[in-house]
């Protein structure tokens, strides 16, 4: 039982009544919601909106609103835990309601930003969603106090039941919700949030709220959507990036079963629209298409590699980066010098649910149903592509069958669906990409190389370190305006000077970190963990080489350099301890260790591997330690860590896309392999939250997976691995 003593300070409030009228006139209510929300929306209306985050129904069950996207990472459950913790409702009686981008716009972004990427879903919204729950609780208690004419300080609440102990009276949230909704809410900032050590719902390993319909086929993903009168579209984009559509011969597919039309989609794609997707795809396969492939055809993996190599040694250009002392001089004069060049390839997201989007466009409205990590970006894309103002656009997001960064800022699939639907006014068009399109038209993890040099003194102490990264820039492709004078700091993610987000933690007296931008025509974008992935490999594998050259234990060498960064050191120690670093292993099994930082969280890993005489690798066990500041749901965090191991190991073992004649040469899972269950090591997660910051969870640990494994291989074979994926490397 918790007691709250809150007077309600006055603050002008836009009443829900007014809002809902405005909403009804413009956006969210009053048009067809043929999915999920239709039923929910009715229930919601039967309840009382206490504030934007909380709707209470007469039976005291609570509807918690969420704005961020759910793509498997558990953000919805985590956010609801945080709201419910402050709300003091009954965890067994609540449901989730997803707000739409149009509703958010109409209510002046009362739910904040909707974008879900960069492992921000919880850490950036935690403060305002907890205050949202707390404000609702204060209002519900105030309503009961006014009804009973007792001071609110004398009330207590648990699981949605309000009690006045002195007079032995009790009531429920459901009974006072209508009165509470009419009160003026307190200033959210005036409310003291609970200390995490008093949490009863947050911080606990509760089961996810969104599992049941994933077990029986009833969960509706965007790709499963059915709307009355809907037609289906299959798309083909110019295989060479930057190329254009010249022509297509529609007559050749006329009369094929179910086919309606073939249409141009913007400049570089053609779609066939039919009564089912399979018929559309079959006709598309039969459609003669002529492309103007453009200048990109001259590009190949070899030309791109040459360009990157140039960046490793270039001298007279602006580099992004930072320095301490004079690294080149220190290395030049060192007793022992170590040099290495590393490289990592382009990677595809390959979300399990392929790209898809449904759109309906009329002269008056554009509506989009899609799997989006950023409903507001989808709204903007729908509005722009349709030519209709934002106020005439709406986006219904459905939970994603995987996101990994593919469906956030890059709204290509949304634009295409709208561009096709525009040519069929009033008809809902569901666009589904084949896996082949998905593989060949991604925004790939950027390709890069890294040249590293280090200098040790006679005692084996690191005196100088020079890191030169050369490769593609995500910002150059997606957000060129943020690049100043050719310098893009984002590509050195994980090696930043400043604390807080992705800080370089080794104290080296002479340090030089540089990034040389070398772009190609291949589109690049954020991919789970983004630049921490390859940068983690570069730094942590090279530090391993340096530690071995110094003749020092891998853990001790790192420890000695981390004395100024206790949080980095903390996770390193936690992983080492859990993995029994230094203790004997079964014959043939070897350990590797790594630490790195991204997304405001600190990660470390220890891998145990063996390499057979034939060079076959087996990863037996991985221990990962994570300090994400606050742990909202330890079980969900462990699941994300396990997932990051699978994602990271897939990249380490198999991930590689190559370029020939300007196009991606892989097309499906037969030549872009994904790790299977048999290869999954035993993963142990150690969560060591320090509760003095809020860090991310979905991405941080992936960057230590590859380096820990590669360092264990080094221990097993005595040879460093400097280029990924391992399928191309002879280990012995």
């Amino acid at each position: 039982m918790n007691k709250f003593s809150s007077k309600i300070p006055s603050l002008s409030r836009r009443k829900f009544i007014i809002d809902s009228a405005a909403v009804g006139g413009g956006l969210a209510v009053g048009f067809n919601l043929p999915i999920g929300r239709a039923a929910d929306a009715k229930n919601t209306l039967r309840g009382n909106e206490v504030n934007a985050w909380v709707v209470v129904k007469p039976d005291s069950s609570c509807v918690i609103r969420v704005a961020r996207s759910e793509m498997g990472q558990g953000t919805h459950t985590g956010l609801v835990q945080l709201v419910a913790e402050e709300l003091e409702c009954d965890w067994k009686k609540l449901s989730i309601d997803q707000v739409t981008a149009g509703e958010n716009l109409a209510r002046k972004r009362v739910w904040g930003e909707m974008g879900t990427g960069g492992s921000r879903g919880i850490r950036i919204s935690q403060d305002y969603v907890r205050r949202g729950g707390a404000v609702a609780r204060v209002m519900l208690l105030q309503a009961a106090a006014e009804q009973w004419k007792v001071p609110v300080e004398e009330l207590s609440v648990a699981k949605g039941v309000i009690t006045h102990a002195t007079s032995k009276r009790s009531t429920t949230y459901g009974k006072v919700a209508a009165a509470a909704a009419k009160l003026t809410p307190p200033d959210p900032k005036s409310i003291k949030l609970k200390d995490p050590k008093d949490w009863k719902i947050a911080g606990k390993p509760v089961l996810r709220l969104d599992t049941a319909d994933k077990l029986n086929g009833s969960k509706l993903y965007s790709i499963d959507l059915k709307l009355p009168g809907m037609l289906h579209a299959a798309i083909r984009q110019c295989p060479v990036f930057g190329g254009k559509l010249s022509s297509f011969d529609e007559a050749k597919i006329a009369g094929m079963p179910g086919v309606k039309r073939a249409v141009k989609v913007n400049d570089s794609a053609v779609a066939v629209v039919a009564d089912t997707w399979w018929r559309a795809k079959k006709a598309l396969d039969a459609l003669p298409i002529v492309w103007d492939e453009g200048a990109g055809t001259a590009e190949s993996s070899a030309t791109i590699a040459e360009r990157l190599k140039g960046g490793l040694t270039a001298s007279d250009e602006p580099f992004a980066g930072w320095q301490v002392g004079d690294a080149l001089k220190a290395i030049g004069g060192a007793a022992k010098k170590i040099d290495a060049v590393y490289s990592t390839p382009f990677l595809a997201h390959a979300t399990m649910e392929p790209m898809n989007c449904t759109a309906r466009v009329s002269a008056e409205r554009v509506e989009v149903w899609g799997p989006t990590q950023n409903a507001e970006a989808s709204l903007a894309a729908a509005s722009e592509e349709s030519g209709l103002p934002l106020g005439k656009a709406e986006v219904y997001k459905l939970d994603l069958g995987g996101g990994f960064g593919r469906r956030g800022g890059t709204q290509d699939y949304t634009r295409q669906a709208v561009a096709i639907a525009k040519q069929f006014p009033g008809v809902p068009i569901k666009l589904v990409w084949s896996r082949e399109e998905d593989m060949q038209h991604d925004f790939y993890r950027p390709i890069s190389m890294c040249k590293l040099s280090a200098g040790l003194d006679e005692t084996g102490k690191l005196q100088g370190l020079h890191i030169r990264i050369s490769g593609q820039s995500i910002n150059a492709f997606l957000n060129p305006a943020v690049i100043k004078e050719g310098r893009d700091m984002r590509q050195v993610q994980g090696m930043y000077k400043d604390p807080g987000d992705a800080q370089f933690a080794y104290t080296v007296p002479n340090l030089l970190i540089e990034y040389a931008m070398r772009n190609s025509h291949v589109p690049v974008g954020p991919w789970r963990g983004v630049n921490t992935n390859q940068n983690g490999v570069y730094l942590e594998c090279f530090i391993e080489e340096v530690a071995r050259a110094a003749g020092t234990d891998s853990l001790e060498f790192r420890r000695a350099l981390l004395h100024d960064h206790p949080k980095h050191l903390g996770v390193l120690n936690a992983a080492a301890e859990k993995a029994d670093w230094g203790k004997p292993l079964p014959p043939g099994v070897h350990r590797g260790i790594a630490q790195f930082m991204g997304y405001g969280s600190y990660s470390a890993a220890v891998a145990e591997v063996s390499v057979s005489a034939k060079g076959e690798l087996k990863v037996h066990r991985m221990v990962l330690a994570l300090n994400c500041g606050h742990a909202v749901n330890p079980q969900q965090i462990a699941m994300q860590v396990e997932g990051s191991v699978a994602f990271g190991l897939t990249a380490t073992l198999y991930g590689e896309l190559t370029v020939g004649n300007g196009r991606i040469q892989q097309s499906n899972f037969h030549d872009y392999a994904i790790m299977r269950l048999a290869e999954m090591p035993k993963v142990e997660t150690v969560i060591v939250p320090t509760y003095d910051f809020w860090g991310g969870v979905g991405e941080p640990t992936i960057c230590v997976v590859a380096p820990a494994v590669l360092n264990a291989i080094f221990a097993a074979t005595g040879k460093p691995v400097r280029s990924l994926p391992l399928k191309n490397v002879k280990l012995v």
Binding site: T211, P257, W278, E353, G403, G643, L677
Partner: protein, 152 residues
């Protein structure tokens, strides 16, 4: 035109015989729990049972399926999500995005029918579906749970 026995019901569908069973199930029959992931028998998202065997429906032309073949999709595995595999999946919170899980559950159910107490090695060999979210560790544990024993 094809006659199919899906989840115990006979259905007549108007469709070209070279259409993959997956798309007939999803589009003509309207059961969307069976998923498209690759279309080339690589990922297992489209797994269904045909006469008790787990099969990748994206690679089976509907013309090869007879009306006497018993097709079971995820929707027909149990009426109330009460199959031991579904219960184990719920208890261990296996799914992340969930997109691959229909196929994973169908593969696990077929495995347990043949081999009620699979070893880790049996699970390695039978459970070859792709999960991009990386739920493999929990899938393994849940198969053991569904088999009624602790993880081997």
């Amino acid at each position: 035109m094809a006659r199919l026995n899906i989840n115990g019901k006979l259905r007549d569908v108007q469709v070209e015989p070279d259409t993959p069973l997956l798309w007939v199930i999803r589009e003509q029959v309207g059961l969307t729990g069976t998923k498209y992931g690759c279309g080339v028998a690589q990922c297992g998202a489209c797994s269904v049972h045909i006469n008790g065997e787990v099969m990748r429906s994206c690679a089976i032309p509907v013309g090869n399926v007879k009306a006497t073949d018993r097709i079971v999709t995820i929707e027909g595995l149990s009426a109330t999500s009460s199959h031991p595999v579904q219960k184990a999946w719920a208890a261990l919170d296996v799914p992340q995005c969930g997109y691959c899980q229909s196929g994973q559950i169908m593969a696990a159910a077929a495995l347990l029918k043949k081999n009620p107490k699979p070893t880790d090695k049996d699970i390695d060999e039978a459970m070859t579906n792709i999960c991009r979210c990386g739920t493999y560790q929990r899938i393994r544990a849940a198969v053991h749970t569904a088999a009624g024993r602790k993880e081997a």
